[in-house]
Amino acid sequence: MMPTLNDYLLLSAVLFTIGTAGVFVRRNLITILLSIEIMLNAVNLTFVAFGRSFGTADGQIIVFFVMTVAAAEAAVGLAIVIALFRHRESLNPDSFTSLKW
């Protein structure tokens, strides 16, 4: 028996959810960024699965773009992390709360 589209979608949903959860349960900026990467990857899986079900190349091409975006985001995100770390020697997001209320 071959896995159906739905199987892939459910798998990607699980991965996506793990990614979102990661944003909350970890207090490390790097891990949070990684969680977002997990989310994007989950979406990629969805795209590819859908593309496969439509029988076109669109899904795969979109994944290509998403990867680019992920790379760009990662670059900027890591640059911000570096800049942050310079100021406060910490990667805990909760230590950056000078802006509030």
């Binding site: 979608l9 996506f16 990614g19 979102t20 944003v23 900026l29 949070i32 960024l33 977002i36 989310m39 994007l40 989950a42 979406v43 969805t46 795209f47 859908f50 079900s53 439509f54 076109t56 669109d58 899904g59 979109i62 773009f65 998403v66 975006v69 760009a72 985001e73 900027v76 995100g77 911000i80 992390v81 800049a83 942050l84 100021h87 406060r88 997001p93 950056f96 000078s98 802006l99 509030k100 209320w101």
Partner: protein
């Protein structure tokens, strides 16, 4: 060579080209040399403006994913105005803080190009890419004062939440693709319209997730939390830029996606938007009351204004669509003007962005105080200023659609918002300064830009007919 397929992207190409030119210029700049990089951007923006005037009523499309229809062009104009004013207000700050000029302007211009693309794109994928272009540029601009911990913190918060929400947005695109087999808005619209009865859950998932993405960008409650922090941390000129440009682009895409492609599902999303609009208006105004930082206060104000725009969007009739455009323009000019004044008062070592700092401004800088008052009153929706016509337009839309409660919440929250705008007026005019003059002189160009904003604010408030007609003509082409 036939250039016809490319004409729709000419405006954003102009802007992007000047952005690249700015980078190149920067690389040739000797350290310490003053180089007019800002004016370079002006050339690009003016070029974009000319191009979009030429494109008016042309219904040009490029690559099947960019449509220079009147709607997109109207937003493009708004963005050009935003860009010009932002450039003018940025100059003093960039000089004073010795920010990397080339990068600053390049990023700003890239962001504008991204915004233009977002406003004219007719494909979800392109919208997503444009969103990322402008977001990344704005994240960086937010944190461009690297030596300021708050700026970096603001950039970080904005970035993190932005990335988080764009993941949802992307997931929404994925489901849309899965449901319709395409990311193209026309196609999506056709597919959705073709099916009757209750929409399958995946469609609702798609709509909901896309909604989240847009709601984040327009900082609707409860997706607004980043706004005050990012606005407070960013340099004032950037804050002005992102509070207007990003919102304009995001709303343009929002309107395009939801009022065109997802129109068949309106019964489902309008309820959600209704709630979002009410929550946004209330939270924006009520929390704005308690703020002591002017930028933060205006951040909440811009959240609230997002709420009014959502009202127009919920109403979803012809008036509402026109109202979105007019409101965006009025809001953009007014809000940028207000942030321009804040930028003018920034002295580098002292940001002067606390409400308290405005005490006695009238005595020190009467013209700035008067301009600020004009902008604040316009934000508060007083006639004869742009904000009034804009609000009136929005509430007409709500009344026409029968959303009385939305309109009532809208007018009452705008009364509350007047209170915090007035706090600043009270400070400027009716409170004596603790310490004597400490405001820098206003550079000529920035001053001229402020005056120009004020003139536009009055023009839109007193003689809005032409612009209203344009707005009406804009929406007639796509819906």
């Amino acid at each position: 060579m036939n250039l016809a397929p490319f004409i729709a992207i000419v405006p954003m190409c102009c802007v992007a080209a000047t952005a690249i030119a700015a980078m190149i210029a920067e690389s040739f700049r000797e350290p310490g040399e003053r180089m007019p990089i800002g004016p370079l951007g002006v050339i690009g923006l003016v070029g974009a403006g000319v191009a979009s005037i030429a494109l008016w009523n042309g219904h040009a499309t490029s690559f099947g994913v960019v449509a220079a229809d009147n709607f997109g062009l109207f937003v493009t104009w708004i963005l050009i105005v935003v860009g010009l004013l932002s450039l003018a207000f940025s100059a003093p700050g960039v000089e004073r803080e010795q920010l990397p000029q080339g990068e600053y302007y390049a990023l700003m211009l890239f962001a504008i190009a991204g915004m233009m693309l977002m406003a004219t794109a007719t494909d979800l994928l392109v919208i997503f890419l444009a969103l990322e272009v402008l977001s990344l540029a704005v994240y960086v601009l937010t944190g461009i004062r690297r030596d300021s911990p708050t700026a970096i913190e603001a950039a970080f918060k904005y970035f993190l939440l932005g990335a988080f929400s764009s993941a949802f947005f992307l997931y929404g695109i994925a489901f849309t693709y899965g449901v319709t087999g395409s990311t193209h808005l026309d196609r999506i619209g056709r597919v959705l319209a073709a099916q009757g009865g209750t929409p399958p859950p995946m469609q609702l998932l798609a709509a909901g997730l896309l909604l989240v993405g847009f709601a984040f960008k327009v900082s609707a409650v409860p997706f607004h939390m980043w706004t005050p922090d990012a606005y407070e941390g960013a340099p004032p000129a950037v804050t002005g830029f992102m509070s207007t440009g990003v919102k304009a682009a995001a709303f343009a895409a929002f309107v395009r996606v939801f009022l065109a492609a997802f129109e068949p599902l309106r019964a489902d999303w309008s309820v959600v938007l209704w709630v979002l609009a009410v929550a946004t208006m209330i939270v924006g105004t009520v929390v704005g009351l308690a703020q002591s930082n002017v930028k933060r206060m205006l951040a909440y104000s811009s959240i609230a204004h997002g709420g009014y725009l959502l009202v127009a969007l919920v109403s979803a009739n012809d008036i509402g669509k026109g109202a979105v455009l007019f409101y965006l323009l009025a809001y953009a000019v007014t809000n940028l003007g207000a942030f321009g004044v804040i930028a003018m008062l920034d002295t580098g070592n002292r940001p002067n962005d606390q409400v308290r700092d405005y005490a006695g401004l009238w005595n020190e800088q009467p013209a700035l105080a008067a301009l600020m008052t004009i902008f604040l009153l316009s934000l508060g929706g007083f006639p004869p200023m742009a904000g009034f016509i804009a609000k009136w337009y929005v509430f007409s839309a709500a009344i026409k659609a029968g959303y009385y409660w939305l309109a009532i919440v809208g007018v009452l929250t705008s009364v509350i918002s007047v209170f915090f705008y007035l706090r600043l007026v009270v400070m400027m005019y009716m409170t004596a300064a603790d310490t004597p003059a400490r405001f820098p002189a206003v550079p000529r160009i920035a001053g001229a830009a402020l005056v120009a904003s004020a003139v536009i604010v009055f023009y839109l408030g007193v003689l809005p007919t032409r612009v209203l007609d344009w707005a009406a003509a804009s929406i007639s082409t796509i819906f």
